[in-house]
Symmetry: C2
Subunit: 271 residues, 2 copies
């Protein structure tokens, strides 16, 4: 089996290494995005760059300009490339210890992995509930930063192919998200998704679906959701920037055999 093609730009130059004193390595001092490229077109590109900029700002990082990312993209994944693109920004090197250097010279990475996407299978996802409970850190909530040990430990809880994704709760028992996706439930003709002001990552697909559903006249709420609320949902769905929206077929012993709104919402999201 041939390993997938991988290409990396570090500050716009081909290379597959990073200085060992990069603060992204030493402290997780940075942010990232993972998204899908179809025929050289990154999915929801403007939204992705805007979110990356906001996440940079939340750490006091100066985000690379969109024009810079666009040049990287032309170099790394020109049309008709299909695959997964990762953008990563760190606070670069410098200053011994936690104190950020001033000025900081941010470092950017773009990683492209060529991949042929098959359509999402019609069968829904099979979920388990993770034992790991997310901690609360309002200062970092919503941000896709490089401190992702909670996700790593949660994802390490299973390695059976029968499980597609894990459901993450916080320490108060609120349902927050999947390990690598955001959560929506459909109940009584309303679209509900967990509040992410204490933990979790507020993904681009999530924001986009909320907006598109509202535009279509659907009532959308960010709210606290507990496990019973999820079990009693008419339909449960997960979103991310690579696979878009997918319905959940099973959570532990609970089954949802039929789709209600997910096909409609997929159309809104992908429009």
């Amino acid at each position: 089996m041939i390993p997938p093609r991988r290409d990396i730009l570090v500050d716009g130059r081909p290379g597959d290494v990073l200085p060992a004193d990069d603060r992204g390595l030493l402290y997780g001092d940075g942010v990232f995005r993972t998204l899908r490229v179809d025929a050289g077109q990154p999915r929801w590109w403007d939204d992705q760059l805007a979110k990356l900029s906001r996440d940079c700002a939340s750490l006091g990082l100066i985000a690379p300009q969109p024009v810079v990312w666009r040049a990287d993209l032309r170099q790394l994944a020109p049309p008709p490339a299909d695959g997964i693109l990762k953008l990563l920004v760190t606070r670069g090197s410098g200053a011994r210890g936690y104190q950020p250097p001033d000025p900081a010279h941010t470092r950017r990475l773009m990683v492209f992995e060529a991949l042929e996407f098959s359509p999402n299978p019609p069968a829904g996802l099979r979920l388990r509930i993770c034992a790991l409970r997310l901690g609360w850190q309002p200062r970092l909530a919503g941000v896709k930063h490089l401190n992702r040990l909670e996700n790593v430990l949660a994802r390490a809880e299973w390695d059976t192919p029968e499980i597609d994704e894990g459901l993450l709760l916080d320490q108060a028992g609120n349902v927050i998200s999947g390990v690598m996706s955001n959560l929506f439930i459909w109940r009584g003709n309303r679209l509900l998704t967990p509040r992410l002001d204490r933990c979790g990552v507020a993904g681009v697909a999530r924001a986009r679906l909320m907006q598109r559903a509202r535009d279509a006249g659907i009532e959308v709420q960010e709210t606290e959701l507990d496990l019973p609320a999820v079990y009693e949902a008419d339909e449960v769905m997960l979103t991310n920037s690579v696979r878009g929206l997918r319905r959940v077929a099973r959570l532990e012993a609970k089954h949802w055999p039929n789709s209600t709104i997910s096909r409609q919402l997929t159309e809104y999201l992908d429009a």
Copy 2:
């Protein structure tokens, strides 16, 4: 000004770069230690390696053997080197996404920075209270892992040389530690230090001081401490593996002009 000499070994080989797909960078998926070397002798070396092993185990990482670290040390900081040594272990490269590769090939870094240490000045440290509040994550509490954004954001709160260290509280208002040190208070002939079962890093100097103080017949307690308890302390002290024990002279507007027990405890710790 000549920058300090820096030397780096990556898996035992001289080099100053790391693969861009290292999980330490991508997710903070690793652990580290920072300690002091005097004339080629790492301070509290066995304790440091034991703690690094325990921290590796808490993430499911296989720690490099002590013999391997010793060989790195002979290469990087042979006697009579003085300086600061950093040991870092990551889950290496491999597996796209959060799921740890199985088996994982851990990667180790040793970084040495030559430095002449001046004795700790007799004047105590000047502290501020950080606005950032530590989140609770019992699964990672005590471990010196690479997810250190909380410390970075807390350390970024001040850049005046008049402040030596920041005091970190958790979200319930408990005092936990300094940004780069552990906290002890002396009160009514007892030595108290915060419990670290929900957040914070349980440092080697802290463990060692607790043990030595107990050996000397002092009552030592790990407990919940709030700010009033710190303000009312007879003496406040911070520990870490580079500077050992130092007394606190000031916390915001509160002054502790005189030492009570800190000189004695320094002797126990350094013995």
